[in-house]
Amino acid sequence: MSAVGVPKSIDDVRPVPPFAAPGPQMSAAAAPRAINISVAEELEQLYVEFAPLVYRTAWGVLGSREDAEDVVQTVFMALVRRESPLELRNPKAYLCKAAMTASLNVLRAKRRRPVLVDDAGLVEMPASNRGSSFDEDLYERLSRAMDELSAESAAVLLLRYLHDKSLAEIATELGLSRTAVAVRLFRSRARLRALLHVPPEKQ
């Protein structure tokens, strides 16, 4: 297993197209930038800037301080331990998706722990705390669908619906134009529907 929850190559992070170059409506600080992860100081900069997002994302999925801390450590140490330096064109998008993927991996591992009712057994594990209406199959498909979305598409989707950001806020944070965000959101929704095999009218 490679680094948990982090795309395996830079190919997983789609480059920002030329039309998304910083425009007058964006601040220089918000613009996408290349970061050489082999430099420790830049990792610290990434951590200060984006670890809160990673933590909040993980906490929202897992609801546990300790599990969320482990996700933060997993995501950032995966950057440190890469065999080769990683160029992040859009660090926020990359880390947003990495946080969700790592969180889902942890949740998946936790959900593999079934109730053990075995008189001969010595180990007893707790049951999942999910409600009975939780659709396990839909959840699995949703997890796989998130895996298949590009980092920016996943980030747009997560920032919009889980972090309640407006299109303008997402555009600023990801260094995209508002039009580009709207287009990505539309395509992400369509892609997600297709990956989930859920007809639009049933959502």
């Binding site: 297993m1 490679s2 680094a3 948990v4 030329p18 170059a21 290349a34 082999s38 430099v39 420790a40 990792l43 951590y47 670890a51 933590y55 909040r56 906490w59 929202g60 999925v61 609801g63 301080r65 300790e66 969320a68 801390e69 482990d70 933060v72 450590q73 997993t74 950032f76 140490m77 995966a78 440190v80 331990r81 890469r82 065999e83 080769s84 330096p85 160029e87 064109r89 969700m100 889902l104 942890v106 591992a109 593999r112 722990r113 079934p114 053990l116 075995d118 057994g121 010595l122 180990v123 007893e124 594990m125 949703l142 998130m146 997560l158 889980l162 929704r189 529907r193 639009p200 959502q203």
Partner: protein, 457 residues
């Protein structure tokens, strides 16, 4: 909007069922994680280019195309330098120069460091060098050194100033630091060396080093130091490493060690033999911080500095800290309840020993789903208060497993067939051997030689 609201509901229900964390919890949590990451980060960055034998340097090229400015990121590669080069400049905040006679050449990030090339750091926060063996050398401003080859490794000649060396685990040799009156030999550790007009000083932050001054040799552990200069010796170590970029990490390591030593001081009497399932003398003791993550076998961290062995299925404690690398939950349970082969003797476990725990196969920990015996986890836990090795290995590890895995166990004692080894009626046929006892002062076997305790199941 109906579709959008439906999707929002779906995502919130499945991907954010717990909502937002308490705001007050976020910053302390992130600070805890940052501290936990420091020891690994100290070692990891320099390994990256070494393992791949190349480094990638981003070069920004701005091109004007059809009146539009497009930012293009080009990835170029530069190889490690040739045979005469022993490393490269990883960071140079201020001015790092290569001196040759009366001329000096400004060195920048990525530049190679030649054999016997004299380097001087003149300003800013000093410089960070990455050696080809994976070690990192942090130079304080106003320091001067050169790199040379030794018979079995690399020699850093420190002319003047301060350096902090994070020595990588050496495969088949040593890393040496030489001042005018001392030589330090290491295989994997973090330590400070001062070189001044009136003498030298060596202080260990993590691991163990051998210091030779003339014919005298001494081993130093974390927090210990030797000095040939009373002036240098009078300076508190904590102040002496405050200039480092990683001062917080170094101080945290020292603090953890000092905390552990404070606990063990005066309590070094032999541990009384215990029943395989120990009573709980430290009920209520828990780790202050703990990280439990699924093991990533492709990215195994190196063993702690100074330790040999390690790798999957290894377990090690240092004062105040416990590390378990790629251990199944069943193996952890077996260890926590003191029924593993490494513990069956009743002698308990000690700090600074890497134990190979093997894999619990269902003999001692029974029942449970299959993943208990197949999914490996990596654990790192830090004691908040005084804790000796057996307290961490036993009650504290049990409490951790109960809290994080929701573990509930019951313990049974069984009568099982066993074989007794006794002396035959005709007497013992074994004869005293002629082999020579090992010389404790003899050179250490090469790194990688198995020395850890291994289960014989």
């Amino acid at each position: 909007m109906t579709h959008e609201n439906g999707l929002r509901t779906l995502l919130e229900r499945y991907l954010k069922p717990h909502g937002e964390p308490p705001n007050a919890d976020v910053t302390p949590a992130l600070e805890r994680v940052w501290r936990r990451m420091q020891p690994d980060m100290l070692r990891a960055p320099a390994r990256l280019p070494v393992r791949s034998m190349s480094v990638h340097r981003p070069i920004r090229v701005i091109a004007a195309v059809a009146a539009a400015a497009i930012l293009i990121v080009v990835v170029a590669s530069s190889r490690w330098p040739g045979a005469d080069s022993l490393g490269r400049v990883e960071a140079a905040d201020g001015s790092l120069y290569s001196l040759a006679g009366d001329t000096r050449r400004l060195l920048r990030q990525g530049d190679s460091i030649g054999l016997d090339e004299v380097l001087r750091s003149n300003g800013g926060a000093g410089a960070m060098l990455a050696l080809a063996d994976g070690s990192r050398v942090e130079m304080r401003s106003q320091s001067e050194l050169s790199l040379a080859r030794a018979d079995d490794g690399v020699r850093i000649r420190l002319g003047t100033g301060d350096i902090i060396v994070s020595a990588a685990e050496q495969r088949d040799g040593h890393l040496y630091v030489q001042t005018k009156d001392m030589t330090v030999a290491v295989v994997g550790t973090v330590f400070l060396v001062n070189a001044a007009e009136d003498g030298s000083r060596v202080a260990v932050i993590e691991g163990e080093v051998r210091v030779r001054e003339g014919a005298l040799e001494k081993r130093l552990r974390p927090g210990e130091e030797v000095s040939t200069s009373p002036v240098l010796a009078a300076r508190p170590l904590r102040e002496e490493i405050a200039w480092s970029r990683h001062a917080d990490a170094h101080l945290a390591i020292l603090a953890a060690f000092e905390k552990g030593m404070a606990q063990t001081a005066g309590t070094l009497a032999p541990v009384a033999a215990q029943s395989p399932v120990a009573t709980n003398p430290a009920a209520g003791a828990e780790f202050e911080e703990a990280s439990i993550r699924e093991c990533d076998p492709d990215n195994l961290p190196p063993p702690p500095a100074g330790a040999r062995g390690g790798g999957a299925n290894s377990f090690q404690m240092t004062p105040g800290r416990t590390y378990g690398l790629c251990l199944t939950l069943a193996t952890l349970i077996r260890t926590a309840y003191g029924v593993g082969p490494a513990l069956i003797s009743g002698r308990g476990m000690r700090v600074d020993v890497v134990y190979g725990l093997g894999v619990e196969n269902g003999v001692r920990v029974r029942g449970g789903p299959e993943w208990v015996r197949t999914q490996p986890y990596t654990i790192e836990a830090v004691a908040g208060g005084p804790a000796d090795a057996e307290t961490m290995r036993g009650p504290m590890l049990r409490a951790l497993l109960e809290r994080r895995f929701g573990l509930k166990v019951h313990v049974e004692t069984e009568q099982i067939p066993a074989v007794a080894l006794t002396i035959a009626p005709g007497g013992l046929k074994m004869k005293e051997g002629t082999c020579t006892p090992p010389d404790p002062s003899a050179p250490q076997p090469p790194p990688g030689t198995p020395q850890s305790t291994v289960d014989m199941v």
